[in-house]
Symmetry: C3
Subunit: 133 residues, 3 copies
């Protein structure tokens, strides 16, 4: 069994914090200890953990990724989103989180962010929890 | 217990889809639900999940990585493969996949790719499955 | 239950090998088989697996990351460490390791490295082990 988090991105390149969705799943399942695997079943999106206090942090990250893989260069893939696939590959398709006493063991400044690289679209994140003991 | 997937890369920089190897392991073990951890025990290779419909997608990704870490720059490591180690670090040494009802929960366009950055070589991927329940 | 590895970085950009800390935790817990999740609860640091034989390999990786995200560019985040957050995002916040017969299944040349991008600081890595069977 796994849970699905459903979100909508609003721009071609976007970031959506999903930390509270994950906390709600953990609470609703009553999980005390374990590992939470978040998995993105898309090839033009990614998932990272970074600062959620100053939204400029995520903007700087998205800006730098957009310089790294520029839109509409002379790519071989002709659907206009080769840049999105490249960004997906250097961020990540999944992250692991530790659950202890029913809480996500995030650092003080950490949030979990879905990164959209080819939106706007409806997107999904799979949330699989492995209980410990 | 874990399984070993054995492959041979054919070029210095190469990509080999290993999705079917993973599906066969899951089927042969009869796993119904859980998480599959794929781990690359090499320091000049990586593993990613991305599109397997148009092979140009992976070529664009490899091309962009080769621009990011150029061969034979003025690196400190003198074995001629510093670029390969750098590419390994910004892709990944492992990925997680979710298993549900005996199936890999991949997205429609997703495949799992071993990325060779210092071939051709014989390579291994470790496949460890954690069953749920 | 999870264990905490405590380290001190010595420079703004630094790398600290933590492989032996992880081995000691596995030995002290008497774990035979499973998966070890290493998680970094910081937003200006990362964790990778790469070569621990020639220290120049990690220096080349850190150098290339510092070119990728230069310090003190025209970032929106004004705390002087936007580069550190960006580097954190393209390396990783967690890695998975496989444990078999009480041993870490690392490749011959592999070590686990905590990457500091905004030091010197006291830092933590969470080590969570999921036993198999």
């Amino acid at each position: 069994m796994f849970n699905i988090i459903r979100i909508k991105s609003k721009k071609r390149v976007d970031a959506i914090e999903i930390t509270d969705y994950v906390r709600n799943i953990i609470k609703s399942l009553g999980v005390k200890d374990g590992v939470c695997v978040l998995y993105v079943p898309h090839t033009t999106a990614g998932i990272i953990i970074n600062e959620n206090a100053d939204p400029n942090v995520i903007e700087d990250i998205l800006d730098r990724l957009s310089e790294f893989a520029k839109e509409n260069l002379n790519y071989k893939h002709l659907e206009g989103n080769a840049d999105s696939h490249i960004k997906s590959s250097i961020t990540s398709s999944s992250v692991n989180l530790i659950i202890e006493n029913g809480e996500l063991m995030l650092g003080t400044w950490q949030g979990v962010f879905f990164l959209e690289f080819d939106g706007p679209r409806e997107r999904k994140i799979y949330c699989k929890i492995l209980k410990d003991g």
